[in-house]
Symmetry: C2
Subunit: 428 residues, 2 copies
């Protein structure tokens, strides 16, 4: 048995406490699997005296996570504070400079600074692992970086924000409007302090950008993820989609195209009977496609103390076992910069709008689509309200550019009331 | 860049050819991800002159896989011949003795000899990896050994034989009897040379035994997997199950109980709308449950050139990257022997039988169940044929021992025609 693996844990929120519990309660199992003792040396958090429901005696305390990261008696710095910048980034950089390996659950920090952190770590001969940053307990970083390493990855897809999926499935099940379910989710504590991180698709976009970097050997490029949140999804859209055999999901898609890397995180219609369509509540699913393996999908809890701590422990044990894999599965200095390709792949779209109730209105809309080169798969006028005719159109496959042209054309017709809704229908 | 990783490939069937193609066609990608060149030095197969659709020039040829395994110019012996004993086992042992790492897709060899092979490899400081042996391209060995390493595993479940799942889904979809679909599958080349390996549950049982060893830190114990094949599943059972909202799957379950390790591979009823119930055709799904992570499930192609070669490549790349994980995730000498526990966990059962059509017959069956301590959830007499009354019963949870007692009791009543069918209903 070699030397113990000594951990310094910064951040004692839900996940940090989960990690402490596992290390305390499963010493024998961890030692057997790691081939050495896994030991917590020191911890750091904002408030020392808070009762966290788990004893911290026997661990040194540091008020400053940077000081924790630099302690000579730790081998692995476990960053569970969160935040793209500030203490998390400072301490991670300090840990690398001090020759520590890093395990982190911090998707924001890596989505924004992953390239420079990975380069620094590799220059220092250290590793950064981040299984817990993507899809909670599902070992998807591992599946992609290692399990599919023999594949040219052709597509990465996923529902990776449990809060959004909870809101969308609850809207459908209870027939409630977005605002009401959002308030429920807030009351249940499901939302980030800044809820836009969840419902605006930012958190899920961070995760997608990380997976794309691994999949395509590119520098993580969150800045070019096309982001669209779920805030504008109405109960009408959910009902209409259901009538047509679809469900609306906040779906991430990353795909390399001839024009560059396409990364989207946006509401999409997917078949209701597909594995992604059937995903309920806070569950996450990631779908990976490779030229050799075909399609594999991984499903599980995307958040929570146990699942996230499980992912953190997986990284810790791997480091203890001697794994020295690079952050993105290739040397960071060799990762390519790519052109972003905005919605390069054509798709059918779901369109919903209200037309003024007068003769020829529908014909003008059809003409605007025709002028943009878009053909119609299905069109229906659902019912007449006073002076307003709700219309739903499903197009054949079209480019986003053509669709935008058609949407402009709609405005020019003068027959559309309010803003038309356009949601991509993704082939999953 | 360090030295190239040099492979010796024994077996050039579907999977071997798939591996050769990937190594030939993706040299740059593999080198970037592995951190070194991946190179095939030598190959071995039964017939040298056969056209396999891929050039073998530049590789040394060995008629004898043992000679291949011992070549000084290979680092990794890639065993893709199959067969629990004979050349595969001889060559694997020779490779270990000669100081080579081993990558294999051979579930039978490892299910029967995994313990001794792992001990030999670890004594020699070598590794044996076998991602391709379980569920084709799905990285489930990795997910369990590494991704869930921080968990006490609570249950492993899976549909892991694509041929059986193809037969069962085809029977339901086409309304065809077992014999007819079996003949179809044979004609399509879906069956092993000895079809009992597939339809008798043996192949899937091998896979389950391997996963159980990793999950519970126990010596692989295929001999105590309770095996039951799909040969007796009738179209009537599939239809009746469907009427009640279930599908029949050849389902493996491994679970540690107070009485020992329970390992079952047998037809089970699962809810038709569950992810396992919805699994179509040759697709595999493995469900892993851990105390921290909860339930995760992994889905993908369970066989075929691309998926299986993808899994083999994953192991090769991991070895090239320096991973030295032990075969079962813990030192082989520390793996425990456990008692087998036959169907230790109680479950509801589906029972179908034909009763002689005379007064009191059903009452005698109900009495036999009552005497065995089994209560009835649902019972129905589906229709009357000439002199025979088909009866379907769903019990409440019961032990297998009590059920066997009841089945004996049925015989004693003298009112049951033929053999009653009893299928476990698994909570998934």
């Amino acid at each position: 048995m070699t030397q113990p693996l000594r951990l310094g844990i910064a951040g004692l929120g839900t996940v940090g406490v989960g990690v402490v519990k596992i290390v305390r309660q499963k010493a024998g199992l961890l030692a057997a699997r790691t081939g050495r003792e896994v030991r917590i040396t020191a911890v750091s958090a904002r408030a020392r005296d808070k009762d966290r429901g788990v004893p911290l005696d026997g661990f040194a305390w540091e008020d400053d996570p940077v000081a924790l990261a630099q302690r000579p008696d730790i081998d692995v710095f476990v960053e569970l504070m969160g935040g793209a910048d500030g203490p998390a980034r400072d301490a991670t950089e300090a840990a690398i400079a001090a020759g520590k390996d890093v395990v982190t659950a911090n998707k924001a920090m890596l989505a924004l600074h992953g390239q420079s952190l990975a380069e620094a770590a590799e220059a220092a001969g250290r590793v950064i692992r981040f299984e817990a940053a993507v899809a909670g307990g599902i070992p998807v970083v591992k599946a992609l970086t290692e399990g599919l390493a023999g594949n040219e990855v052709t597509r990465v897809m996923g529902v990776m924000n449990g809060t959004c999926n909870y809101i969308l499935t609850r809207m459908e099940d209870a027939g409630l409007p977005y605002e009401e379910v959002f308030a429920e989710a807030a009351a249940l504590g499901y939302l980030e302090a800044d809820p836009t991180l969840d419902v605006g698709g930012i958190d899920a976009g961070h995760k997608l950008a990380l997976l794309a970097a691994i999949a395509y050997g590119t520098q993580v490029d969150f800045g070019h993820v096309e982001l669209e949140g779920i805030q504008k999804i109405s109960i009408e859209d959910i009902r209409t989609a259901a009538d047509m055999g679809y469900r609306i999901k906040l779906l991430g898609v990353a795909q390399m195209t001839g024009r560059g890397l396409e990364q989207r995180m946006s509401p999409c219609l997917v078949p209701a009977d597909s594995p992604l369509g059937q995903l309920q509540g806070g569950t996450n699913m990631v779908v990976l496609e490779g030229d050799a393996v075909g399609q594999i999908s991984l499903r599980g809890a995307g958040a929570g103390e146990g699942p996230t701590a499980s992912a953190v422990m997986s990284d810790i044990i791997e480091i203890g076992r001697g794994s020295r894999i690079t952050t993105f599965g290739q040397p960071a200095t060799g990762l390519k910069r790519t052109q972003p390709a905005r919605s390069a792949n054509p798709a059918p779209y779901y369109l919903r709008m209200a037309l003024v109730d007068k003769p020829g209105a529908l014909a003008r809309i059809a003409a605007a689509l025709g002028e943009a080169g878009i053909s119609i798969d299905r069109m229906r006028q659902t019912r007449h309200d006073s002076g307003s005719a709700p219309v739903v159109i499903v197009t054949h496959k079209t480019s986003r550019a053509a669709l935008d042209l058609a949407l402009e054309g709609f405005t020019d017709t003068g027959v559309v009331q309010g803003e038309p809704v356009a949601i991509r229908i993704e082939a999953v």
